[in-house]
Each structure stands twice: as C-alpha cells, then as structure tokens.
C-alpha cells in the first residue's frame, strides 16, 4: 500500500462558522489511486472538510497542499481547475436536458465562442461512458435514466473536467444493490487510472469493502486514520463515537401510560418498483420518546409523511388513542391529535414571509375564531404565551419568521405543532441545522413534553442523539423496521441493524 502517493493534504485545517467550530485543526492526507474513506456522524465535519477541498468553502486557518505546493481555492472553479471534482449527495443535474448537455453544462465545447459543438460533445460523452463502462446514449434525456445511472452521469461530469481527485458524498444512499455494484466497478476502474477518490458513507460494511484508507472524524477532529487492513466495524464505531456520550437525562422517573399511537402495516410503494415504506408497524405510549434511527433513504421521513396524509398512495392503518384515524387530509389528522415537525423547516415547516405570530397560530386558528371572525387579541396573547413557554428569543412577534436563527425557527415550528394540543408528536430530524445550545433546549423541551404525557416519535440520523434521548430505539433500513432496542443499547448493534446488507438481499 506504500505505492499510493499523497496527492493532497490539509495541515491544521480550522473552519469556523458563526457560533461553531466545524473543523478543529484537521490533518488529512488524500492518496492517489486509492479510495480514501471518510466516516463520522452527522455534524462531525465530513461535509465541511470536503467542501473545503472542493473549493466551496475556504479554511479559516491552515493550508491545503496539492502535490506539495500550497494552493488557495477562492471558489469551486479554482478547485476544478486543479482537477478536483465533487459529486454531492443531492444530485445537481437537469432532468430536462440530455446526458451530454448535463455533462458539459457550463463548459460546453464551442465553435467561434458561440455555437455548441454538438458532435464533439457527443463524442466526448461517449468516450467518458466507455471509460466508465456504461452503455448510456449521450442524447438520452436525463429523466429517462435510473438514479444509479444519473449518479454515473454526475461522475462523468466531474471526469469531463479532468478530475484527478473525485469526492463522492454518500453516493450509494439512493442506489439499488445492482447499481451499487456498478458504482463499485467504476470506482475500481478509476482507481487503476490513478484517480484519488474520497468516499463518504454511513454504510460501514460498504466502507470496509471499498476503502483503502480510512479517516474518522468526530466533532471536527480526526480520531482515527490508517490503512484499511485490519479495520472492523467495532473499531470504526469506537472512533466515531468515543467513550463519552451526550447526556440529556430524564428529570423524572419514566412512567409510560397506555398506548397513544399505533401504526399498522403502513406501506408506501416507491416509484419504479419496491417500497419506500414496507409494512411498518409501531406503537408509542403516553409519555414515551421513541427514536427512529436509520440512514438516509431508509424510509423514515416517508413513514412520517404517510402518517400525516402526504401520500395518497400509501396504505395501512393508524390509531390514535385506540381509535382508527380515517381522515384523509392534514387538517383532519391534526384535529385527531397528530402533529408533525417536518425535516425541512424552510420548505415545509414555516411560511417565511409571514410574521412569527402568524406562523405560530397557522394550524390552530380555529381556537380564536367565532363563526368566521378571528379574535386577533386572543391570537396575539396565545402566540406570546407560546413564545414565553418555549423561550423563543425574539424582538417582536410581528417580525417575519425568516429573520430568526435556525434554533428559534425550529422552536416556532414546535410551538405551531404544540398549539394544536397534539397527543402524538412526530419530529423529523428535530436538531438539524441548529447550534448546540439550541439543540440542548429542544431536547429539554422534548423531555418536558413527554413528562406531560405526550407521545413523541422522532427521526434522527445521529446515533448519540437517538441513544441519549430515546426511551426505546427503533431502527429502519430499506423501508422496514429492522430492529427494536431498549434505552442504553450498545451503539454497534444499532448501527448493524441500520446497515442494509446488499449482498444478502439482492431483491431490496
């Protein structure tokens, strides 16, 4: 393994965002002609590190060396010029354009600086596809391709700009087993061509299979870095999580009441075959916090959306307080005591241009309405009451909600949900995109709510969080519940349950 030269290295890399230090003095070596695996929990700093390498973000301190000489990327174009390509987790492609157009978007081969040279574009695309051993016609519209093929196109796009270093951020999260095999084949191929690959994934068995070198990040620091030989899952988990654990202890002794919420065989077919949510049955008791852990694309968000009547194609039954929920619309389900705190605050949780007060009361205007007259005074009083109760820091409830920080916005979303007096609270990644202080406050709030007899079902990809906060942990993978554990379970078992085994179940 000594024949892998170091292509890029970071020395003393520090990245500071307002309020947080995402990287705390990181030393990272990227070896050419090998797969450099990067692993760590959400928020450990993986993405930040990769964005620094790809020129999307720049280091606050420290330096980047490329083949021994110091470089400074002001933007992504600088990094591309140095032969660094990145494939983001979310594909950045144009479904309405063809494969060739997608690959050459922004750097089209032109004649006389104006006319796109279609033929050379198609020829180059064909050459790239041959290099990747893919049989994709350059003129195919992108939306005719499967997700796995789209991923290949994204890789081809990076290669078309002569990428010598290729960063793949969770490339398999949306792929089927067969497509993963194709991708691994492509990676082998690129490796033999001397391309240095950085591979980020949560799927540990996959990492061990594909990686040559492994680097583990935790809280912005590197906690392990070595060649892959002899690395096993327990070693990775130890390096990822460490000995400490973040505590959000219960203030009072757990006392669960009767069952408040039950889902029975909830199923959602996936477009293009298979199931996004596959016969999920679970129940939550009064005062209980149930954590739903899993990887990206495990179907957790889709399950919550099914419960909140977002998918007309879904099947299965839902019970609140023992009564079947028959309402097919959101308003009806809210009235039955279900409340959802969506994953994407900006898109689903809030109306950004409306005032904080108006956002807080949007789901429960009925409380202040007599006939069709809205009692604004009562509304304002109730909104202020919730602002105080949830300790939302605001200057005025009349300011647009977009002026708040992430943590305070999240509290507004929680306030909106609580104002409907729910019996079961569904929270999708409640700590995403908020700083540590606000996180702790949100968790304390969750504890308090459970103490008042609310049932809480929360989805998270953060292992610490799920272990520290839940009274019971459920694990989902490939749309199914794959494990159920009591509080205080060994992290390794939870991770193992969350890792879908491609080799054993090719049908999945």
């Amino acid at each position: 393994m000594t024949d892998h030269p170091i292509g890029l290295s970071i020395r003393g890399g520090v990245k500071v965002y307002p309020g947080t230090r995402a990287l705390k003095g990181v030393d990272f070596d990227l070896r050419m002609g090998a797969v450099n695996v990067l692993v760590g929990e959400n928020g450990a700093g993986k993405s930040t590190l990769m964005k620094v390498i790809a020129g999307v973000e720049s280091l606050t301190e420290g330096r980047i060396e490329l083949q021994g000489r110091e470089v400074r990327f002001r933007n992504k174009a600088d990094a591309v010029r140095e032969g660094i390509g990145i494939v983001f987790q979310e594909l950045n492609l144009f479904p309405n354009l063809t494969v060739a157009e997608n690959i050459f978007i922004g750097h089209e081969p032109v004649r006389a600086g104006l006319d796109i040279d279609q033929r050379s574009q198609a020829r180059a695309t064909r050459a790239l596809m041959a290099r990747l051993e893919q049989d994709i016609d350059p003129d195919t519209p992108l939306d005719h391709l499967r997700v796995g093929q789209q991923q290949i196109v994204e890789i081809a796009k990076a290669l078309s700009q002569d990428a010598r270093i290729l960063i793949l951020d969770e490339p398999t999260s949306a792929l089927s087993a067969a497509e993963v095999e194709v991708l691994f084949g492509v990676i082998e191929e690129l490796k033999s061509q001397g391309v240095g690959i950085v591979y980020i994934s949560h799927r540990l068995d996959e990492l061990i299979r594909v990686g040559d070198y492994i680097t583990v990040l935790r809280d912005g620091e590197i906690t392990g870095s070595r060649p892959m030989q002899g690395v096993d899952i327990p070693w990775i988990v130890r390096a990822m999580i460490g000995e400490k654990s973040k505590e959000f202890p219960r203030t009072e002794a757990p006392s669960f009441g009767e069952e408040i919420f039950r889902a029975d065989h909830v199923t959602l077919p996936r477009a293009g075959g298979g199931f996004a949510v596959d016969r999920v049955s679970l129940s939550v008791r009064r005062g209980e916090i149930v954590g739903l852990y899993g990887l990206m694309g495990a179907g957790r968000t889709e399950f919550l959306e099914c419960v909140m009547a977002q998918h007309p194609a879904s099947a299965g039954r839902i019970f609140v307080d023992g009564h079947p929920v028959i309402e097919r619309d959101v308003a009806g389900r809210i009235a039955r005591g279900i409340a959802l705190i969506p994953e994407d605050r900006k898109r689903d949780g809030l109306v950004q241009i409306m005032a904080i007060r108006e956002n807080l009361t949007l789901s429960s205007l009925g409380l202040f309405t007599r006939g069709f007259h809205l009692n604004l005074k009562a509304e304002a009083a109730r909104a202020l009451d919730f602002v105080r109760r949830l300790a939302i820091k605001i200057a005025s409830p009349e300011n647009p909600v977009s002026s708040l920080s992430g943590g305070n916005q999240q509290k507004v979303v929680i306030g909106k949900a609580l104002m409907t007096s729910p019996k079961i609270l569904l929270m999708d990644e409640p700590s995403r995109g908020i700083d540590i202080g606000a996180k702790a406050e949100v968790f304390t709030t969750m504890r308090a709510l459970a103490g008042q007899g609310l049932g809480i079902l929360f989805v998270t990809s953060d292992l610490d969080e799920v272990l520290a906060l839940s009274d019971r942990v459920l694990v989902m993978a490939n749309g199914r519940i794959t494990g159920e554990f009591p509080a205080g379970t060994d992290p390794a078992t939870v991770i193992a349950a969350a890792t879908p085994s491609f080799l054993k179940e090719p049908s999945a």
Partner: protein, 352 residues
C-alpha cells in the same frame, strides 16, 4: 441602554421604511396635489364623483385580483367575465329564458343580478377546478377561460349589442338601469358597491382564518398544506371571488349604458393587475393588501383622468401609466429588502 442606542441608530432607517410602506399613499397625494394645481377644475366635488365612478370598476376587479395574486396565482379571465356577464344580464333583461316548452321565464332585477353573479362565480369555479384538480398553471387556465368567456359573449348575440336595457314594468326590471346610474346619499350606487365589497374583502383578509390561509398559501404552499390549510379550497375561493367581482362589474356596465356589448371589458384584467401591483401586491405571492390595491386603482384612475383634463395625448398617458407601474415594483423590491434588514437587525439585537 443597548436597546435605546439601537433604536436611535435605526430611526432614519425606520422612517425610510415607513415612507416606503406608505408609498402608494404618498403617490396618491402627490398625484392629487399635482392635478389640483395644474388642472383648474380638478378639485371639485363633481369631478371627484366622476373620477371615483371611473375608478370604482377597476378597483372592484382589482380587489378580486389581489386575493388571487396573494395566493401566488393570476386571473387573466376577469375582463372576459365582465363581457360575458354584461351579455348574460342583457339577455335576461331583453329575452328572458326560453324554456323550450312554449313559454319564456322572465326575471325581475334581483333575480337577474343573482343569476349573473352566479355565472361569474361559475367561471371562477371552473378556473379554480382547472388549477387545483387538473394542475393547470393559473396563467394558462385563466388564459383559456379568457378566450372561452369572450367567445361565449360574442356567440350570445352574434357579435351584436343588446340595446335598450331600460327594463319593463311588467317583469319588474325597470330598476335595472338604476344600478349604474342612481345615487344614494349623494354617492352613486356603484361607489357604494365598491365600499361594501372593499370593506368585506378587507375584513376577510385581516380578520378571518380564510384570509390568513390565503396569505399562507401564497407564502409557502407546501408549508401551509402541512399545517392543515385546505389549499385547494382556498384557491377555489379566490378564483370564485374574482369571478364574483368581475360579474358585478359586468352588471354595472350593462346597467350604466343600458346596453350590453360583447367586447365589454377587454384588457380590464391588465388594469386590475396594474392596480394590485401598484398597491403593493407581490406577484410572487404572500403579500398584498386590499386597501393598498384600492389606493393603487385611484392612482391609476386619477392619473388618466387628470392627464385628460390637462389635454395630454392619450398615447403619452399610456407611456406614463407604464412608467408608474414599473417604478412601483422597483420601489417595492427596495422596501422588502430594507424591511428584511430591519427585522434581522432587531432579532440580532434581541439575541445579544
């Protein structure tokens, strides 16, 4: 201490923000002052009533349009609905409804008004169904109904005018011409109608859950739906309300002229959109106020009447109108940027 400093530091900014917020009002005062000075007879009671009558029709349409635009949509069909409803009213006054069984049903004025309004609301309902159930983009759906309604209006008379809608004693329709011509307490009936519709619309937008939902749908449709807002119902309502306003205008015009012409209301939709935008309604949805729209309609109306009184060529009037609208939107953008900045600063200082 810090808060006081903060307040002191941002006072000029707040003043500027206030001025920008009231810009339509400021524009109105400026236009009024200018013409009172330049056109000798402008500031007389009689002229005020005339101008108001001109403005009332556009303002009525613009109120309906405001709701539609707040939800993030657009209603291009209002002008055609005006024409169609004028023809429907004219037909009912002149011909009644032939049942095909050898006798004709005649309606009195109240019934005619009710039926015509129902036609307008019905076209709005079709718009709403196309947009909510069949997922047609509002621009296209209402463009389609624009042509359909106009075509139907032309077909109803073969392109001719229904003349002499004076009504008849026998069927109780002599009151029909009064809608557009009579006055109550010194104000024309149509102005009273505007006052009633405007107050009702203002009330709905500010003090009812429906109004709040209209803003929420325009601000973030997905978010509103996940909060339990019945998005489709809200959209149906706004297009039906817009149809209602257009029908009202159609009736008023037919009554005022005592004749119904199938080309009535052509390009009215554009004036209505202009008034709404001038009044601060954001075309991307979520923002706008009924009172702002009415002021916007007055600015446009006063501008064109005043320019006529000054003897400015109508070609120039068109140019000036366009400039005013573009200017309004540019200022609107500046205002929302400033507003966001002020709110951000406030929140930042609150979290210090």
């Amino acid at each position: 201490m810090t808060t006081r400093q903060q307040a002191a530091a941002s006072t000029p900014q707040n003043l500027l923000l206030l001025a920008l917020r009231l810009r339509t009002f400021v524009a109105l005062i400026l236009v009024l002052a200018y013409f009172s000075f330049m056109a000798p007879n402008f500031l007389t009671g009689a002229n005020a009533v005339i101008v108001t009558k001109h403005v009332a029709l556009n303002a009525l349409l613009a109120i309906g349009m405001t709701f539609v635009i707040i939800t993030g949509g657009i209603d291009l069909s209002v002008g055609s609905i005006v024409g169609l409803c004028a023809m429907v009213a004219g037909w009912l006054v002149l011909n009644g409804v032939d049942t095909g069984l050898g006798y004709t049903i005649w309606f009195n004025t109240y019934e005619i008004v009710a039926l015509t309004l129902a036609v307008g609301i019905g076209v709005g309902f079709v718009n709403g169904l196309l947009i909510t159930r069949l997922n047609v983009a509002p621009f296209i759906a209402t463009l389609g109904t624009l042509y359909i309604a106009r075509g139907a209006a032309l077909l109803s008379s073969g392109g001719r005018t229904f003349p002499n809608l004076g009504g008849s004693e026998e069927f109780g329709t002599t009151s029909f011409p009064l809608i557009g011509t009579a006055s109550v307490l010194g104000l024309p009936v149509m102005v009273w109608l505007l006052v009633v519709v405007a107050l009702a619309a203002h009330y709905v937008s500010r003090r009812t859950p429906l109004g709040r939902h209209i803003y929420a749908v325009g601000g973030n449709e997905r978010g509103a739906a996940l909060s339990g807002v019945k998005v489709n119902r809200v959209k149906l309502f706004v297009y039906m309300f817009s149809g209602f306003c257009a029908a009202l205008v159609g009736i008023i015009i037919a009554s005022q002229l005592q004749a119904a012409h199938p080309a009535t209301g052509e390009t009215f939709e554009l004036n209505a959109i202009a008034a709404a935008v001038l009044g601060g309604t954001s075309m991307s949805g979520g923002r706008g106020r009924v009172l702002g729209t009415i002021i916007g309609a007055f600015v446009i109306g006063i501008l064109s009447d005043g320019l006529i009184m000054m003897g400015v060529s109508s070609f120039w009037q068109t140019v000036i109108k366009g400039v005013v609208i573009v200017l309004a939107v540019v200022i609107d953008q500046a205002q929302s940027r400033l507003q966001a900045r002020v709110a951000l600063a406030q929140e930042a200082s609150a979290n210090r």
